[in-house]
């Protein structure tokens, strides 16, 4: 039991940190917030060359063949550097959706492009309800000759403007349950698709995607008609762990920023880090992030080993989001007025933490899942 990265993973982590410190300083992060595409193609090409974009994709499809613990370790560094890129949207969520739901032909067609970074594939799952439960999928797919027509509004779709393919979840049979949900491969430039950027707290290129009678062929169904939900659930669980790992990296960096600042900022003739009120805040921050990190590693490890992780995944996401909130909110307070100014790095983490908190399920929803499972597994007392 080592409860952490292997030596090889530590090397991946160190190399990633070194590269990102050079390539992605916080000035770059700020610049990309204003940028029309939201990421730098040169950096994207580089990280794809490192194999990051193919991290989770099996070697037979041109990927790196890594597992959930590998991506978790890498995601920590990405979260620390706040790297703006479609890596999560395409190489994690997009890739996993194709891997979980697609036929072998579809994997052959889509995965090598995702792995090389040449094509960006993003999942359009959420709708205005914002829920990750099956009832949230209300976009309709109605039969149309040999194909289908899609109508509905998809929301929070990452990098939809850069995507070559959208994977749209829609209902081929009316209802609110898991049955009847189908995934469609949709060209974002197809007639009837309208894409509008959302003003999110972190300016991280999420979009509204309106589908107005968009016509798709039968071969654009990813996997089986009506049977996509189990695959989506698998994707959501894995993606939640990646966001959780990213949150750990961001939380750790928030803490470091606060600690460093508090050692230097002098008020009342003393560094503010000598005031116990702030010391205790920071002691709680390090404790929360350390605990949550172990839980994220455990969830990633269980998924890698094929063990049941249905309770560890929501626990990990809830804990990691909680730790990121604590570290970034308290961290920003410790900066006083300086934390509120755009030039401050800490406010980037503060805003990112909010985005990561709601991405792939907010903590409250994950806690609900935990309790539901505990209740199911609870047995009457033996005595």
């Amino acid at each position: 039991m080592d409860l952490g990265p292997s030596e090889a993973q530590q090397i991946i982590k160190n190399n990633a940190r070194q590269f990102l410190e050079d390539a992605c300083p916080t000035e770059h992060v700020r610049e990309m917030e204003e940028d029309a595409t939201g990421f730098d193609p040169a950096i994207w090409t580089q990280v794809c060359d490192f194999g990051w974009s193919g991290m989770l994709i099996p070697e037979e499809y041109g990927g790196f063949g890594g597992d959930m613990t590998d991506i978790a370790v890498l995601a920590e560094e990405i979260g620390r550097a706040l790297l703006p890129s479609p890596l999560f949207a395409s190489s994690v969520v997009g890739a996993l959706t194709v891997m979980e739901a697609g036929s072998d032909d579809q994997k052959q067609a889509l995965l090598p492009g995702i792995a090389s970074g040449e094509s960006i594939v993003t999942l359009a799952l959420n709708e205005p309800s914002g829920t990750y439960e099956p009832w949230g999928v209300q976009t309709e797919a109605t039969p149309d000759g040999a194909g289908w027509r899609l109508s509905g509004t998809k929301l929070y779709v990452s990098y939809a403007d850069s995507a070559n393919t959208l994977i749209v979840a829609a209902r081929t049979a009316a209802g609110t349950g898991p049955e009847g949900v189908t995934l469609f491969l949709v060209d974002p430039h197809a007639p009837g698709v309208t894409i509008t950027i959302l003003d999110t707290i972190y300016q991280d290129h999420q979009f509204e995607v309106v589908l107005d009678g968009v016509s798709v062929n039968a071969d654009q169904v990813l996997g089986e008609v009506g049977g996509a939900w189990p695959a989506i659930q698998q994707v959501l669980d894995r993606a939640a762990v990646v966001v959780a790992a990213e949150s750990i990296g961001g939380a750790e960096r928030s803490l470091e920023l606060a600690v460093d600042y508090s050692k230097e900022r002098v008020q009342f003739g003393r560094p503010i880090g000598s005031f116990q009120a702030l010391q205790h805040k920071m002691a709680r921050m390090v404790t929360e992030v350390t605990g949550a990190q172990l839980l994220v590693y455990e969830a990633a490890w269980r998924l890698t080993e094929g063990l049941d992780a249905s309770i560890e995944v929501p626990m990990a996401k809830a804990a990691a989001s909680g730790a990121y909130s604590t570290c970034s909110i308290e961290g920003t307070h410790i900066f006083g007025g300086a934390g509120f100014i755009k030039e401050a790095d800490i406010q980037l983490y503060f805003r990112r933490a909010k985005g990561a908190e709601v991405l792939m399920g907010d903590p409250r929803w994950h806690r609900k899942r935990v309790t539901r499972l505990l209740a199911e597994r609870s047995v009457p007392a033996s005595h």
Binding site: M1, D2, L3, G4, P5, S6, Q9, T69, V259, S262, K263, R270, P271, G273, S274, Q276, L278, Q279, H280, M282, A283, R284, V286, T287, T290, G291, A292, L294, L295, Y297, E298, A300, W301, R302, T304, I311, E312, P314, M315, A318, A319, R364, H366, R367, K368, R369, V370, T371, R372, L374, A375, S378, V379, P380, A381, H383
Partner: protein, 393 residues
Amino acid sequence: MDFTFPAEVEEFRKEVRAFMEQELTPEIRDEYEHCTDYPHGFNKAITRKLGQRGWLTLTWPKEVGGKEASVWERVVFDEEMAAHHCPIAAHQVSANFAGPAVVHFATDEQKQKLLPPITRGESTWGIGLTEPNAGTDLASVELRAVRDGDDWVLNGSKMYTEHVQDSDHYFLITRTDPEAPKHRGVSIIVVDPRTPGITMVPLWTMDGYRVNQVFFEDVRVPGDALIGEENRGFYHLAMTLNTMRSSGLGGWTEAQGDLDDLVRYAKETTDNGQPLIEDSWVADGIADFAIYVRISRLLSYRVASMLESGGPAPDRETAVRGVWGKVYGQKHVKFANDVMGMAGQVGKYSPEHAPMLARWQRRYMGAIAGAHNGGTPENILNTVALRVLGLPR
């Protein structure tokens, strides 16, 4: 990345579990919850049986009667004890707090005398650190020990000592050099608490057990009562405190049992027909509690894994685990008690109206002592701030 125990450790767990299931009768488990005098039961016969198997001092060197087993075996032993509510008071201090200091700092002669009875589960110890004027600020102890010929003579008092009324040995930190800076004038002395001149005044805790104020009046003990170097006691103690804090690495299983009980209760108890667990505040708090327990387990395993790897002492990890338990633990106990509503106030003398084996009235009070015993929440936060984060004084 790996989160599994070595296979032989799981085998050992089966052995310990079988013992617990066989030996811990319902009466003994009840004593764990409800005995007066001790929060977690006091049972010399059980302690002796554990000692006969060598389980009390699993990781100690063989030459002093230990088994040189891995830290993981100690962890699963702890886990099974806590999960089965095994009484621990008769060996907790001897095996986990005082014993390790003797192993590290005592002379061979002292070890031969003091350690074998500990490993056999035949001797019970108390530990006297706290005094009326020295709580968190332990270096301020005033219990005076003066050399007189070959002997030591002790005057002063200790506060809040558990176990000592039933102990054979009493581990003390004493002031041996009042002129030196306070950290440099402290020594460890072990006495027999039945020595003339020692009186114990019981103090009863609000949850109904006994701690003591212990008075020393011209208490004369032999020179070999000194453990370790004279006036280096505070530094020896730093190690002892860490050993204390890294013991009980399996203690989280008790909280797991509490959580399981709570889930069952909230599922089976209804509020106007609706199970409590379907109420959103209950559901949310239960998950939070479950996350707390899981992280407690992982932070404990982290400390264990570092101890097992034999590298530098995991002081940072131990302190962080301390904050987790002491700062974050109590709210879950309060939450569980809140879920019980009116019945949460009811205790063991009205068992028919007290849910969950009438455990929670006492748990509610015990959570305070649990947080303070062995170092307060603020104290451990200070440790993390100064030692782990390197914040300025």
